[in-house]
Amino acid sequence: MSRRAILALPPRARRPCYCALAGTRQTGLMMLSSIESYMARSEKIIAYTCPYVPAEWIAAHGLRPYRLIPLPREGTPAIPRLEGLCPYARAFANDVAAGKDVDAVVVTTMCDQMRRVFDLLGRRTDVPVFLLNVPSTWQTVAAQRLYLDELKRLGRFLVRLGGHEPTREELARVMLDSVGWVGPPNALPRVWGPLLNPRVSSTDTSLTRGLRTHPTRSDQRHPEGVPLAIVGGPLMQRDRVLFDTVRDCGGQIVLDATETGQRGQPEAFDRRRLAEEPLTELAQAYFHIPDASRRPNSELYQWLKEELARAGARGILFHHYVWCDKWHAEFTRLKEWAKLPVLRLDSEGEGEMNSARVRNRIHAFLETLQ
């Protein structure tokens, strides 16, 4: 695609607001089909879960990005240990180890436990694993350059896997096509695609029921519900039942500030810079995803300040896994900082979000806000 053609394309809207697993945006589904056709030349699947891994970069190499949001799976785990280990990291590793359809895995250094998962996967699976060094600091040019260099290194890894080195035009086209992508559905896995995309599935399982009905900011079906934000690290698939629970209890999630939600999305691409230096623009957009793990993590609070106000949230659900130090440590600070009531939901990754106890707590929390 020529640079001129890129510039002729319609401008991208502001970063879309949606629930990552909801897949309810039509634009997302439309663009998904174009990406899938773009990737049809290769069926190699590259799994990742960290939002700092740009799906567009993988897709531009002709490979299929698959954001693995753990179920988690049943069966013999690769990591049987529970004590001290973040349930999400454990579930991710076990799902990768149990999966048969993944051709390579990309993990990042954003948390120490996932960094250790890289070691473990390297020893216990035959799947090629790549560790993307995402700097914790973000205020220096050197840190930004390091991230860009790491993306280039990831590119070489992808080429070794059978991908091809994309031209600037190819990358730009993928980035433009990605406008409106909806989180995980942009990386529909062969095996889980139907679970993640309600338009694809016709099976009404309890899992998909939870997934398909997530309210979004634009979802006005329950305008009377008390508007809440959910803040935290990533949610597992089954934790998405929280959205139903909130709705059933008389609330609605108006801001999904989890890692698997709106907060985990990159900034909107600048069309001019995209045309000139697409990889630099890609890196720039992803590097500034706000997260508790950044040092300092003031960007997270700045983002929350703006988004909480924009969404009109009247309360915050704070979700974190036990042994996830970086989010766990933010709870008290967030409580001190936010001028909103905060309800803490800690999870051992055992599906507690679907428990009567959590439902009761959310119900009581919402009562206090009515």
Partner: protein, 460 residues
Amino acid sequence: MSETPRQITLQEWDRGYERLQAAGVSQPTYGGPLGRHVDEGDARLLKLRFDNSPAALRLWNFLLTEEDRLRAARDNGKKLVGAMKDLGTVPVMAYSLDNLVAFYPDGAWWIPCVMEVNSGLLQIADSLGIDESFCPVRAMLGAFVTEAHFPIPDLLTCSVGATCDDFSAIAQRLNGLGYPILWWEIPHRRAPEDNEEGVHLPGGFSAPRGQIEFVKAELERVRIVLQDLAGRSLDDEALARGIVKANRVRELLARLREVVFTATPCPMPALEMLIAEMLAIHFCSDQDETIAVLQKLLDEVHRRVAAGTGYSSVQAARVFWVNPVADLQVMNLLEDCGGRICGTEYLLAHALDPIPPDVPPMEALAQMALADPMVGSAVDRAARIVAEIRRFGAEAVIVSRIPGASHCALEGEILGEIVREECGLPVLEIEVPPLTDAVYPSLRTRLEALVETVANRRSR
């Protein structure tokens, strides 16, 4: 004054101190009976057993008077640098300027042990949302809030990136409380790829040239801030002098470890050796005195080896110990159970390696920072441990987990797997909380079982 090596109680030491004084053995200004530290709240000392040499007494007094030294340094116009999550890089830079004193606020992780959780530091951490699911280093938060255990430093630095989540989260909490922090990035060390120039690091690892350059640039940022704080230039010449001095400490420790881990009987107990190794991190706020303390210990060890005296018999199980313990008493326990230390990796192996003197100082320091076993993969760390096991002839390995520490959840499993594969040795993984009293019997049983396993393997 030289006696047969013996581990003695605090009360015995206090009586021994009187005898030392009567015999005219000189003590440094911070010297004195160990019992006075109990009066100041260090109750755990009552449960420990100490080596009975004057060199060990000096070591303990040096360790337990650091706060006084920091306050005296400030009173004398020196600036204090709190080098967090930094096992021996920024302190080397800071001590290259004579009006800076660096210390290790993370060292507060031993306060709950030494004061038997009577300091209130953990309760303060709890109140700030940092509960027992975090590493005991959370005590540091309380130490900052109370200002009772070290003066608030003039500058706080903290390495982040390939570090443990606990500390990163705790440091961020500290920052959120209003303490400014100079964050510097340490990337995850990786092996050079085919198209990259590689650099061999001290300790045997390697890294791409690009990573060295990146860390060098990060340390340059630190250098600028240190210069501003000191009000004088920290040029390469000053750094080179600082490196020479740091290497003197490392050299003494290397000799000490070599002799202690290989001699039979063992000339110095595990507990004193643990404390000695920790001096390498930040020199316990006095680099010159660190050298003097280590020299005395080394002299004592040489004297004992020459005299054929020491602690353990040939039957003692030769144990390699991985990770520092939160409760110092456990080092005594190993010896009670019939073990002895023959090799350690207390997370600071790189702080014991000589800093390369033949490359520009900032390059050398960047290499050292990247040589940290914790910034690379557990597989790398295991390789270093395996090499040390072979070097010192260890017969078993103890991986001591730190409660709540993010790296301990998976790392021990990987280290254990590799050690078993490479060396065929028994590996015991234990968790050591700041106070082991409640789990002491079970810990004892597990250590005894390991020692018996070693004995059985010998008789096969």
